[in-house]
Amino acid sequence: MIGAILLLTLMGLILGTALGYAAKAFHVEGNPLVEEVSQMMPGTQCGQCGFAGCTPAAEAIVNGDAEVTCCPPGGTSLAASLAKKLGIDIKLDSLQEGVVFAHINSALCTGCTRCYKVCPTDAIVGANKQIHMVINAACTSCRRCVEACPENCIDMLPEQATLDTWYWPKPKAA
């Protein structure tokens, strides 16, 4: 009897402390959904969606002021996961697919480093007065470098399919 009382009191104490601690440790500011959605965005603050950055865009998406497809760097994969999260129905195959990457024309590049300075993911390598280059794997196709380049020598080119990325196109009929 006494044992049971003690045990229950002890449990109450431990669980109570744990709950109190959890409430503090896991406290969230603002709308948790916006927070979550913003964590899903590319985080490069490129502004191609027309908002000031990824968090404002997340807010707009959650409030229904922007489409889940508004983020070009996120592409279909982001659109799909956002649609799932927010319970929205979208037709994925209607989205423009092919990813594009920045490509620097080495014949025109003067090595001014301006593109290098604006790239939000450090995808451009180069040094003063040296030809610069884009690492495709790190490029989010945000186009900031295109705007920054005084020589107009950066183009956005579609990703070349490789044996690893190629897959069957949609069947034509039926």
Binding site: S77, T121, P171, A174
Partner: protein
């Protein structure tokens, strides 16, 4: 051993094996040029270690395994490396990929092999390494590096080695002939695999439409301990891992699970043969037996050819084609893939080169689904192909996945029976590809997100450092003006 219903679903396509089943394996003369691709396996490209102009010997390593999952490539014969350049890949996209082009010197001089040791006395991991170094990959079509499969089976308590001699695809008879003519070496290979993974039993499964292979293998197996030749009924897709394991052991591999979950490791007969050659004779994988067949081939045959032999040369050896074939296939008609050009080279995982005529392929216009349910009864994985296809068609790939798309083995049974000729498998290829590319995209986004965060941190730090430096400077100025003002005055 279940004989009546080996597994659920499945189909009985016309076999067309009589075209080549009784013909002995012919050795192809060394072709004038070999195009040895750097990618003949699942995973990353092998990395060439020879240069144009170098002289290579038969069996010499010419490309080492790439990073991660990969396999090395060896010279199929002696000769000069003419170039390393992209050639048409044995791939449905028709894209090119890098290959080492060898001009044979026709001497076929082999590299020196180290003294041969009894492989059964060598440590297991050393044997696994030897199999990896010999560039052996699954030769039934999947082309998964064999050593990787073996190594992962070593610590997963595999009880039974299943050697797959079912060859359930129509037309193909290469494995049938290999078993009929070279049974001993297959059994040696199976025993070596058992030794490497520390398993107990071996079951060599052969479909009952191959009486010659069965009797040859039974003869070679006389006196072997814990080794059984299992005759399984002829039903497509018998050769698929889950179906084969169900038919041979009665165990069901769980959805999303692996063969080793039920204590089984499966290898194809041709792979077992290659493993025997590698371990007992120190021969890397540089040739294979391939069935050249189809209604458009003048003399269908089973040919032992060097890896890198152009399909065109193989077909010419078989008398060429009557008319222009309507469809060229690498592999069997059910799971093989269409290629556009005869320039594709033979690679390790290709068991057949088929040239089909108009009346061998039914490819009329697809009509709408009549919901007859035949695809459902045919599917060996217990899926609902019509629903999966319908969802894929409308871009609802997650919906297709909910219907089990990830369990689909792309066997083609559903498309084979569909009276409306709906390209069901094509839809599944497309949907799987789309989902894979989505996963790749989101992985990339995680990476770029991290890059962006790192950069922001760096910029913030730099800004903070700058501000601190500025403040410090301002501070110094504030404190020192008296001193600095004095000294110029004193000088003037």
């Amino acid at each position: 051993m279940a004989f009546f219903s080996p597994f659920r679903g499945g189909v009985h396509p016309d076999s067309f094996k009589e075209l080549s089943a009784t013909l002995p394996i012919m050795r192809l003369p060394i072709p004038p040029q070999l195009f040895v691709p750097l990618r003949q396996h699942a995973g990353s490209d092998a990395v060439a270690i020879v240069e144009p102009g170098s002289h290579v010997l038969k069996g010499q390593l010419i490309a080492r395994a790439g990073n991660g999952l990969s396999a090395p490539v060896h010279a199929p014969t002696s000769g000069i490396v003419a170039a390393i350049t992209p050639v048409t890949a044995a791939h449905p996209s028709g894209m090119k990929s890098n290959a080492i082009i060898i001009k044979p010197d026709r001497k076929d001089t082999p590299v020196k092999v180290p003294t041969l040791l009894d492989p059964f006395k060598l440590p297991r991991d050393e044997l696994a390494q030897k199999i990896a170094d010999a560039g052996i990959v699954g030769m039934g079509g999947a082309s998964f590096p064999a050593a990787v499969k073996l190594s992962s089976a070593i610590d997963r308590h595999v009880e039974t080695i299943v050697i797959n001699g079912s060859e359930c695809e129509p037309y193909l008879t290469a494995d049938d002939r290999l078993m009929t003519e070279r049974a001993e070496k297959i059994i040696l290979g199976a025993r070596l695999i058992r030794h490497v993974v520390g398993a107990q039993k071996i079951a060599i499964a052969i479909e009952d439409n191959k009486p010659n292979a069965i009797s040859a293998m039974q003869k070679a197996a006389v006196g072997e301990q814990q080794l059984e030749i299992v005759v399984v009924p002829t039903r497509y897709p018998m050769g698929s891992a889950k179906q084969m394991i169900k038919a041979v052991t009665g165990h069901e591999v769980p959805a999303g699970g692996r063969s080793s979950d039920v204590g089984v490791l499966m290898h194809n007969v041709a792979t077992a043969y290659a493993i025997a050659e590698a371990l007992a004779e120190s021969k890397p994988l540089t040739s294979r037996i391939v069935t050249v067949s189809g209604g458009a081939i003048v003399r269908p045959q089973n040919v032992e050819a060097l890896i890198g032999t152009p399909a065109r040369y193989l077909i010419e050896f078989c008398g060429g084609t009557v008319n222009t074939p309507t469809r060229l296939l690498l592999g069997g008609p059910m799971m093989g893939h269409v290629v556009q050009s005869l320039d594709v080279p033979l690679i390790k995982g290709v068991a057949g080169i088929l040239a089909l005529t108009d009346h061998e392929i039914t490819n009329p216009q697809a009509s709408p689904c009549i919901r007859c349910g035949r695809c459902v009864s045919a599917c060996p994985m217990g899926l609902v192909p019509l629903e999966m296809a319908n969802r894929s068609k409308h871009g609802d790939f997650d919906g297709a996945n909910d219907y089990g798309l990830s369990d689909c083995i792309l066997c083609g049974s559903c498309a084979y029976v569909c009276p409306s000729h709906i390209p069901l498998v094509h839809y599944f290829q497309y949907a799987k590809g789309h989902l894979n590319s989505q996963t790749a995209q989101s992985k990339r986004m995680q990476y770029t997100r991290q890059l962006a965060e790192t950069r922001q941190e760096r910029i913030d730090k730099a800004a903070a450092a700058k501000a601190a430096a500025k403040a410090a400077k301002a501070n110094r100025r504030k404190r020192s003006p008296a001193k600095t003002e004095k000294s110029p005055q004193g000088e003037s």
